[in-house]
Symmetry: C2
Subunit: 350 residues, 2 copies
């Protein structure tokens, strides 16, 4: 199993300035190569403490590329619904060049009604825009003289620059959480699969859909699954829980607040289960999630147990992205946790 770090800001100006948040995040990025973390990853969100400090993952990853030599740089994820495919392809080409070919590109459908509303996008166009956007960007990276008469974006005879540094292009990842169709699409397309922890039974079933689709399409191997976990590792259980517990609750509250339209009557054919998922989200807490292996908080031995438990419960995954500096955590505290994890836990899963 490979372990990377994921930056998911869940704070606003009242708690921490963006200059402090990103400055501290880059201090943690400095540790990656030496400690053996496989990747640096960040999100795309807007207008809300839930992710809103990271409006374009490519911008932060360009900075992170200069603080690392080996780590992969992963967008987790770009949202085609809010971006022009010509812009996305151009930025991918730039960052793949600037990083010397270390970029991997995750795409997601987005799921927060407030973001769709502010950009003037319909939730009911979410899947169509996603499918079209990923395909247009794929072609712009792989091919020259590309024409596409899409429903949402049209262009003719375009050779996107810069041409990718990796051949034929940076690896793609597709983010999926609940829709079987997204898991199948990722497998069929030969892309990696990015997801967040959810009930292990449900995830196990969907990862099977992904891997079945992968093999059915004739791709070699069994696909690649990357899951993002909160992680805080400390010498004692009490210290780990006291530092991380209330901060994970603050993260969950920010996520619920950002998604609250789903709890207040918003519906969309493209998100049939989101009202119910959001209701479930509203009941989640550190206390009631700790036992299911989806939040890696504890001593090294406790976390090893959680990793093994969750890995077996979902039928296996290849990469973990660790949220290491969530909410208001101090950078030195996050650094100690990263060091302890690298020293005590990583070797066991190498």
């Amino acid at each position: 199993m490979k372990f990377g770090i994921q930056f998911f800001p869940d704070i606003g100006p009242e708690e921490k300035s963006a200059a402090d948040y990103w400055g501290e995040s880059l201090e943690l990025v400095d540790l990656c190569d030496d400690l053996g973390y496989h990747h640096v990853r960040t999100v795309e969100h807007y207008f809300h403490r839930y992710g809103g400090y990271s409006t374009n993952p490519v911008v932060f990853l360009a900075a992170a590329s200069q603080r690392t030599r080996k780590a992969r740089l992963i967008t987790g994820a770009i949202l085609p619904v809010f971006n022009h495919p010509l812009k996305v392809a151009g930025e991918i080409g730039m960052l793949d060049a600037i990083s010397g070919g270390r970029l991997e590109v995750g795409f997601a459908r987005a799921f927060l009604p407030h973001e769709f509303r502010t950009f003037g996008r319909s939730l009911d166009e979410s899947r169509d825009r996603f499918d079209e956007g990923v395909e247009q960007v794929r072609r712009l990276l792989e091919e020259e003289n590309v024409s596409s008469d899409g429903r949402f974006h049209q262009f003719s005879n375009v050779t996107s620059l810069p041409r990718p540094t990796q051949a034929p292009r940076p690896p793609f990842w597709i983010a999926a959480t609940s829709a079987d169709q997204s898991f199948a699409m990722a497998g069929t397309g030969g892309h990696g699969l990015m997801t967040f922890p959810r009930d292990p039974e449900g995830l196990r079933a969907r990862l099977k859909i992904y891997r079945d689709a992968w093999r059915a399409a004739g791709h070699p191997g069994n696909g690649q699954v990357m899951i993002a976990f909160h992680m805080f590792c400390a010498p004692t259980t009490a210290e780990a829980h006291s530092v991380a517990g209330h901060r994970i609750d603050a993260y969950l509250k920010a996520q619920y607040d950002a998604a609250s339209d789903w709890a207040e009557g918003t519906t969309s054919k493209d998100y049939p289960t989101h009202p119910q998922l959001t209701e479930t989200l509203g009941k989640m807490s550190f206390a009631n999630k700790l036992g299911d292996g989806s939040m890696w908080v504890g001593t090294p031995d406790e976390i090893k147990g959680m990793i093994n438990f969750y890995h077996d419960a979902v039928g296996g995954f290849e990469l973990a992205s660790l949220q290491v500096n969530f909410h208001t955590m101090k950078v030195k505290t996050a650094e100690e946790s990263m060091r302890l994890f690298a020293q005590e836990i990583m070797p066991e899963f190498a």
Copy 2:
């Protein structure tokens, strides 16, 4: 006078990969703080060797921010016509944070018909899109809960994140080359003025329009003018001309090729003089431009003379952005030129 460096890629995959181009550019960025260069700047262009390796200046500047501690980072320039104002404001907030408040934001109208065509934008909407875009981004950075019912983009009650690190926002620059209206707008708005060298008489008249508008609007001082020059400095005239001459001709040819629609019958009410300007451009060469002070190529003493000549001819300017690694120039050659310029020329203008 302050001197910075400007990266304007004018090569395609046949001459130099983007990985090599940006890697070499970052090696030159490494020299900035020690040698006293004031800023790092880059462009936004698409789909053509003329600038097309730099589709989003914010991406490269994010990388450059990690190779410098003091240098200002300047977009030269963002093109609102091809960007959503919500995206631009978010990226400015991110880079201002990541750089610790060192960002300055230049905006331009764009002028290449092929870019407008590929993005499906009308040349005749150029000024309206520019005016609306700059104003929407300005408000998104300065204000909270912004609503705008624009002709091209509409949004309601938006607080853009991250909030800027600099208060109230990073300084703005407006790029202008030929339109009196753009020079006046920059002055009235209290923004800096970015331009390229042109005939000194014409530029002198337009810089007066800018500074008059600046003072008429009641802004303190006299405004700030930044001009981009090709620069190559060597111990002997022969060496300077032999290294830089044919490469400047290649740059001019790339620029002419990219703009060639204007020479082939394209017209637009928003670009009344571009057919004629492009015809003039087609006749430019290193040999016939060297004498007018607009291309700083020569020995240290020769370049000092050119700087003084052009400065006086246009009525003064405050900043120069030096294109130091144009076309296929080797990075070590560009580095030697940057060192010689910093050592022999800069102190005289401090």
